[in-house]
Subunit: 355 residues, 4 copies
Amino acid sequence: MTDAQQFASDNYAGICPEAWQAMDRANRGSASAYGDDDWTQRASDAFRDLFETECEVFFAFNGTAANSLALASLCQSYHSVICSAQAHVETDECGAPEFFSNGSKLLVAPTESGKLDPQAIRKLATGRADIHFPKPRVVTITQPTETGQVYTVAEVQALSAVCRELGLRLHMDGARFAHACATLGCRPADITWRAGVDVLCFGGTKNGMAVGEAVLFFDPALAQDFDYRCKQAGQLASKMRFLSAPWVGLLESGAWLSNAEHGNACADRLAAAVADLPGVDLMFPVEANAVFLTAPDTVLDGLRARGWRFYTFIGGGARFMFAWDADPARVDALIADLRAVAGDAGADAFACAAA
Amino acid sequence: MTDAQQFASDNYAGICPEAWQAMDRANRGSASAYGDDDWTQRASDAFRDLFETECEVFFAFNGTAANSLALASLCQSYHSVICSAQAHVETDECGAPEFFSNGSKLLVAPTESGKLDPQAIRKLATGRADIHFPKPRVVTITQPTETGQVYTVAEVQALSAVCRELGLRLHMDGARFAHACATLGCRPADITWRAGVDVLCFGGTKNGMAVGEAVLFFDPALAQDFDYRCKQAGQLASKMRFLSAPWVGLLESGAWLSNAEHGNACADRLAAAVADLPGVDLMFPVEANAVFLTAPDTVLDGLRARGWRFYTFIGGGARFMFAWDADPARVDALIADLRAVAGDAGADAFACAAA
Amino acid sequence: MTDAQQFASDNYAGICPEAWQAMDRANRGSASAYGDDDWTQRASDAFRDLFETECEVFFAFNGTAANSLALASLCQSYHSVICSAQAHVETDECGAPEFFSNGSKLLVAPTESGKLDPQAIRKLATGRADIHFPKPRVVTITQPTETGQVYTVAEVQALSAVCRELGLRLHMDGARFAHACATLGCRPADITWRAGVDVLCFGGTKNGMAVGEAVLFFDPALAQDFDYRCKQAGQLASKMRFLSAPWVGLLESGAWLSNAEHGNACADRLAAAVADLPGVDLMFPVEANAVFLTAPDTVLDGLRARGWRFYTFIGGGARFMFAWDADPARVDALIADLRAVAGDAGADAFACAAA
Amino acid sequence: MTDAQQFASDNYAGICPEAWQAMDRANRGSASAYGDDDWTQRASDAFRDLFETECEVFFAFNGTAANSLALASLCQSYHSVICSAQAHVETDECGAPEFFSNGSKLLVAPTESGKLDPQAIRKLATGRADIHFPKPRVVTITQPTETGQVYTVAEVQALSAVCRELGLRLHMDGARFAHACATLGCRPADITWRAGVDVLCFGGTKNGMAVGEAVLFFDPALAQDFDYRCKQAGQLASKMRFLSAPWVGLLESGAWLSNAEHGNACADRLAAAVADLPGVDLMFPVEANAVFLTAPDTVLDGLRARGWRFYTFIGGGARFMFAWDADPARVDALIADLRAVAGDAGADAFACAAA
């Protein structure tokens, strides 16, 4: 993969040094299997320290499983899960939540931005109250959203208030949770359990790990038998230390946050640079490590011609994602190319208009 | 963990050098996600080279998932899977095969040794032919078995013959497949597809990887849409290269086989040493990297007192497992301790008898 | 229940004489269980005669199960089912299709009328082609639709053509299939297998039975092991004759069609009568036994005050459904009341406008 | 079916007069759907009267579904259900419990008689306590057992005591519950909730109905959302009155008990008659409406030659089942034929021995 392709996804990045070194240290000698080892204990404690609470911590292999297992633990097959139309669980998990829960339906709020609001939840949760429709039981929000926006603490509090009122649980898909914390500058506890979140899936892969997500239950009662659930669903690692040690590396060093800050900064750098580019606009506020741009086809084609790669699956806009290892020089190169092709496009348009 | 504890499980070992180095190399720069990368292509090709056939290759996180997904792909919920009473899918997967298949029942043959034979298959497959009982559809064998015995090529051929006759598919749980190959000295193809195996789950974790198993479909038609199945079930790694690169390290270097040979040799060493120990007996022929010993409680307690750890879940015998990194000096230390406590026990018995 | 309430649903009707008499006859003496009886054979043959083909016939207890089992047999958990936004499987089955299939997602086309068209199918079927989204595998249409419209033979042919082109199966939810046949005046074969339908769920309950639906597979290969599927899912009746005999009563007497014709005629009678009523409009063309009316709240309240009951869950319009036993005199009474309250409302409106 | 075949199963009988008449009465006029009707209310109240408690009552189509749904409501997919080796849920439901629960494993106690005892429960419930094996959560007993034996009140109390101690729920499969009550002569409450049963599936089909079972939750908390579960699983009848009215007929008339008494009496009659027949033995104590006989092949063949039909799936013995409509004259005819062929066989044996 060329350097010009790496901003297409923050899944393209490798393992950050802190995670790698922890794996290296963990790879010395033998250790008990299935989580009964020091690294797993230490990683769990690091989460409890970071979140300032005695949460229950589980480790799953990827976000598909972490989120689906968490949702399945909160509902039965005949319940439903309220999410936004942009939610990853709805659009990109191949029906995993339905599979793990044996049929729980996702009720999709037609949001523009991917952010749920209390009204949308209330409407979906109270629209039907008969047994011919799955009973709403959980709300899931993605923090930050798939389009890179961050729920404020007040927003999460407002969501959890309506959840409590309506008897719903609140789940947070934190595939890029660290990026939200970096943006908000708040303690992780403030945007999760103190704001009413019941379960958090904290993403490790996009934070610099090879593989692995953590599932945090802030209400221990909800975690009952979750270890059995993980095992049965193929999410219990035998050599667990290699899933947990990288978390020790990330959490104890602070890399979990600095990695996210770096990605966010790169996104800000790109966003700032395009502010004055004619015809190029931000599709969404840039609040995390993603930038979605709308631009004329000639601009997008021009970027592609110069080797840049990006997805356009949301509204036809170009998505750029900045991982922990995004090279600022490459971001500048992207900016320069974008200016060049947008300038050409502007000149073309001028020429065209003048003709 | 002390050195004296490591023989309790081959899951206690870390990552072997060849796998580690491949991960290290894979961790340079960016790479496409979800398997669309060079390492995954190279690992798949290495499997096809090793097995001398154009098999379809998939990577899953662990054996629970690999075996359960493979079985689920071979049957519907109302079908059944024939296995031995010692089969890991029956005894140690917390109902994972039933979960992934949405209800397929395991039909358990009451074998002593964990090895299925054609008669046992025929009996279970033909015992019922009414719709009130799940229709047999797959046979799964563990190679080597959970008690460390290896099916010969002729034995697998005999099993596949009865499977073909009865319309059953043949699945091989190869959590320690490499150890079987090391014992048999045959080509991997000879003990799998050439002998009639439809699908193989080739274990990486016990072969020296941090995590990961490969699922090989020798009949490409059976692999249809298996990628969707993996994705939905939470078994698709975004940074796939870190699941596939270690396979490149193992397969291209030959470590997959030498790792297994080493484990097997340690087991043989222990087995040979206890042959003449009074009161200590092998529970099963030692054909892979496991040794199951029966011994008086005083002997087992004596070993525990000297720090050794082992499981006794099968028939009350002590299980010792030797991983790729088993230290021969520690094996010798175990032998010495075993001789010492068995000798004491013998002396005690003699004294007791003489008294 | 008063007579004024019965038009709220065609599920409120009882068992028609032909079905009842067949049950009565079937209730003489003993019979083999689980479908191995003469009545079940005779009912199956009656279906094959009616559809002029050697279809495979199964009997399920209700439409929820019949449709869900049929869909589950056509796809795997990671596949998806294309349906209209008004489809009963989407709106009123409490996630049954997802449950029976262990997670198949419904892809909903945002139709106004509840009728799918080839463009909608093509758009949903080709919108995504990556493993992060369930692979489309089946199209289901309701004939007539939940809002009482009938697909013509040409329309079904056009749907099946696009299905064949895209590798999709075509399922027909025929909860009121007889009503569609009555409207079309065509042979059942013409609107099903000859038009490209793979599987039909033919509704018995709304056709005059106490309970029971038939699942017809026109391609026998698709029916493989469907009997096991029914059994496992709790849809195999031990005293099967009481599910099958009523079909004999309906099919051999022609009541299946005359019952439907009667319901349709009552709907037409109401539709014709409101054509000239000011402020009262048909929401959908009346092509089966349902009439959906929009009317001012005063009119709807006026009807309720006179004892009439009706659902308003679709667009706020009043739904009236006419069963096999709808009393024409009561239809006329409804018409008279509707005229009265609409006239009052019109007079009110006039008075209001004049004031 | 000839009269000589009817004793092969109590599923061969039709609908008893009391159930039929209730259906007939229910078939007058219209009624609300989905259980919101007078008959369903009346049937539910009749159960509450009969059981002297405010239990929650649900109606399912058949025993497969009733038992499977009840078990699924008591456990999660990673839990397990303890049952006897003869339990119908294990041997004759095609994996339905596993399907409805999405993978709960049945742990089978190797009983001879089909009756569980506290020791067997304790052994299975405490044998494993690691996450690699499904966690025991429910015990299910069949009352009477599949081989026709009845748990006494004291026995059920002893089972529930061990369940309470071990944190297990107790479910009773009462496919022929009425027959057990007839034998015990106790109040239904005494053998169910007063003895510690949490959930009862009360069989209607074998008690004289066309179709239908009742699920009774004695702890209302356990019934939460069970109506959604039934709906999603295809077990909610739209014209519910036809499932509930027959229960009114059975319960209010006392036929539920007299039907069972009649079947039991016929079984007793046969059992008494064979007591002195040489070579013919009862396999199990006759405590309900089933008689299992062992007899020489010549005897069984002789019966078959005279037209009698019976199953031999349990231990090769001949099973005779007596339904509510068993004709005593036919029982006597069976006895006479049995005497004749057994006498012949005895004579043959004598002749053979004398030769």
